[in-house]
């Protein structure tokens, strides 16, 4: 049973679904390699790169040499093991293999990787914080991070990105059978920063991944999470909250590969944009392979344009190779700020700036509610308020 639905937009936005926009080559069978030279230098017309402003990439796609180091610090309870390992550590790569040139470049270029391991059946109550600080203005750095959640272990991890410079990395989430990982990635970069990240999540039997991407800062941020189900019964939820200002390019490219039966995936990404040339890109590829019977998946992308001159690109792709699934669908909508909502709230005496904040906070509310770490939720709420105040909205 398939249900590719185009629901009416509850935000009062125009619903524009790109149904049937199936990529020419199956996303699951895409080319992957650790070798940077196995990928051609992108020219900007490739499907993978057509939305990314390549001239702002600081040559990360053209073999830019590492000229600095990003600092990675981990704050974790004692039961969690944190290790800095060399390139030869056999565990690296368990999560996945690079699928584009910048990811392969990062793989070829990093000198030390950080591996955070939550041991079997360990339930870590307090959040683990990984802070990544960029190499500094005009510097280029490559990095590697792996989170290993062993069988039936549970953890909450906050990955905080801050600082300046250009940084490309691979991040692996390796979830063993029955493992549960809640991870919140915060992009709180300085205005000059360029960040290109390939995230590889591999889920064992009955593993549960709750990943939230929060993109606020940086000049150009491009994140490409890939979820691979290796065993049945796993469940992945990918949430995104994105606030793009003047001239910012914030791109999220998701691939969820259902290769085994009875797995679930759910995607909700929301972006608010304001200012001249603010640009967000959301690509949501979901592949249900022929073996993946009983799959249940839904993806939703909503974009709220607060001012003229902002642009949101949204491309959901759903590729289904078996009819024996529980459900599959996608929806995408991009709309302007609703003047009627503003009128309604202000007609009750609420000042206009406060009314705008209520509407935007409401727009993101669905995502914020699902962020279970109170400190993170408060910080994000404050960050959204700050974004709104910055333009005097």
């Amino acid at each position: 049973m398939t249900a590719a639905s185009t629901p009416t937009a509850p935000d009062g936005l125009v619903t524009r679904s790109h149904g049937g926009n199936v990529p020419t080559a199956s996303r699951g069978l895409r080319f992957t390699s650790y070798d940077v030279d196995a990928f051609e230098v992108p020219g900007g017309r490739e499907e993978d790169w057509r939305f990314t402003p390549l001239r702002r990439l600081r040559n990360l796609h053209k073999g830019a040499a590492s000229t600095g180091t990003a600092t990675v610090s981990v704050d974790a309870p004692r039961e969690v093991s944190v290790a800095t390992v060399g390139r030869d550590d056999p565990r690296l790569g368990d999560g996945g293999v690079p699928a584009d040139r910048v990811a392969a470049q990062a793989w070829s270029s990093f000198t030390a990787a950080t591996v955070v391991t939550v041991p079997t059946e360990q339930r870590v109550a307090d959040p683990i914080t990984v802070t990544v600080t960029g190499p500094g203005v005009d510097k280029v750095a490559y990095g590697h991070l792996q989170l290993r959640i062993e069988a039936f272990a549970e953890a909450v991890v906050v990955i905080d990105h801050r600082g300046s410079g250009a940084y490309a990395e691979n991040v692996e989430f390796v979830l063993a059978d029955g493992a549960r990982l809640t991870v919140v990635g915060v992009q709180d970069w300085a205005d000059d920063a360029v960040h290109v990240a390939a995230q590889h999540a591999s889920l064992g039997r009955d593993a549960v991944l709750r990943a939230t991407a929060v993109s606020l800062g940086g000049s150009l941020v491009r994140q490409a999470p890939t979820v691979t189900f290796s065993q049945p019964g796993a469940d992945a939820e990918l949430l995104g909250l994105c606030f793009a200002d003047d001239g910012q390019h914030l791109e999220h490219r998701l691939l969820i590969d259902h290769a085994v039966p009875h797995c679930k995936s759910n995607v909700v990404y929301k972006a608010a944009l304001q200012g001249e040339a603010a640009h967000t890109v959301w690509i949501g590829d979901v592949l249900i392979q022929a073996e993946a019977e009983g799959t249940e998946t839904f993806e939703l992308n909503r974009n709220l344009l607060l001012t003229d001159g902002a642009r949101a690109d949204s491309v959901p792709n759903l590729e289904i190779e078996t009819g024996e699934i529980a459900g599959a669908g996608h929806a995408s909508a991009t709309g302007r700020f609703d003047d009627d909502q503003l009128f309604y709230l202000t007609s009750r005496g609420i000042p206009e700036d406060q009314a705008r904040r209520l509407v935007v906070r409401g727009f993101f509310g669905e995502i914020l509610q699902r962020i279970t770490v109170p400190e993170v939720r408060e910080r994000l709420t404050a960050a959204i308020e700050a974004e709104l105040e910055a333009v005097g909205a």
């Binding site: 509850p10 935000d11 009062g12 609703d338 003047d339 009627d340 909502q341 009128f343 309604y344 709230l345 202000t346 007609s347 009750r348 005496g349 609420i350 000042p351 206009e352 406060q354 009314a355 209520l358 509407v359 906070r361 409401g362 727009f363 993101f364 509310g365 669905e366």
Partner: protein, 257 residues
Amino acid sequence: MSTLQIKDLHVSVLTDEAPKQILHGVDLTVRPGETQAMMGPNGSGKSTLAYSIAGHPRYEVTSGEVLLDGEDVLSMPVDQRARAGLFLAMQYPVEVPGVSMSNFLRSAATAVRGEAPKLRTWVKEVKQAMSELDIDPSFADRSVNEGFSGGEKKRHEILQLSLLAPKIAVLDETDSGLDIDALRVVSRGVNRFQEQHTDAGVLLITHYTRILRHITPDVVHVFAGGRIVESGGAELAHELEEHGYDRFTPKQEVAAS
């Protein structure tokens, strides 16, 4: 004491093409404690009048005045009009996803009262007001108007009327789309508001006479072609009930239909 004065009001609606004039000189005074009914056929400009008073950006006042206790309302932004004591119960209340009713009500009450209501008394106050309008308490946690039925939306408009306690309330077709029970509940809410705020004025805009069986107007106006064409007492409403608006609508429209 609260008086709403509307003087020779001309209003155009902004469309994709040229602005279109809807109101052609409206004169009206609502005095403290009065209920005035504004009745008229569809398309006569009743809602335009309501929106113009509240300050909807799609309507442009080309001439005339709106005064609340002598103060120029038209120069005020929308939120300031509400804080000055104007309230519009809308015909089509707007859905605001993600903003809970309780957050919205508290934000509005804080703005209108000039300070945040004390939490303890506020919770009681809202509960009481909701129960008087037969609104289930669970609505407080729902997004503003989202997924509400027509009747539920109208009850929540009256709930806001009761909590914000304006000087002048404009009720735009609050009765439309209500079944008999809901009409009774909503009317009771309006009457309770007037009993509790004897200085407040109400301008009740309606197409039908049935709500006037529950709310007794002091004055009845007939609105047609963007102006008031006749004013009288309750007997005018009775005449409309029996004969409709034919006497007040231009002949050529009848011929064309």
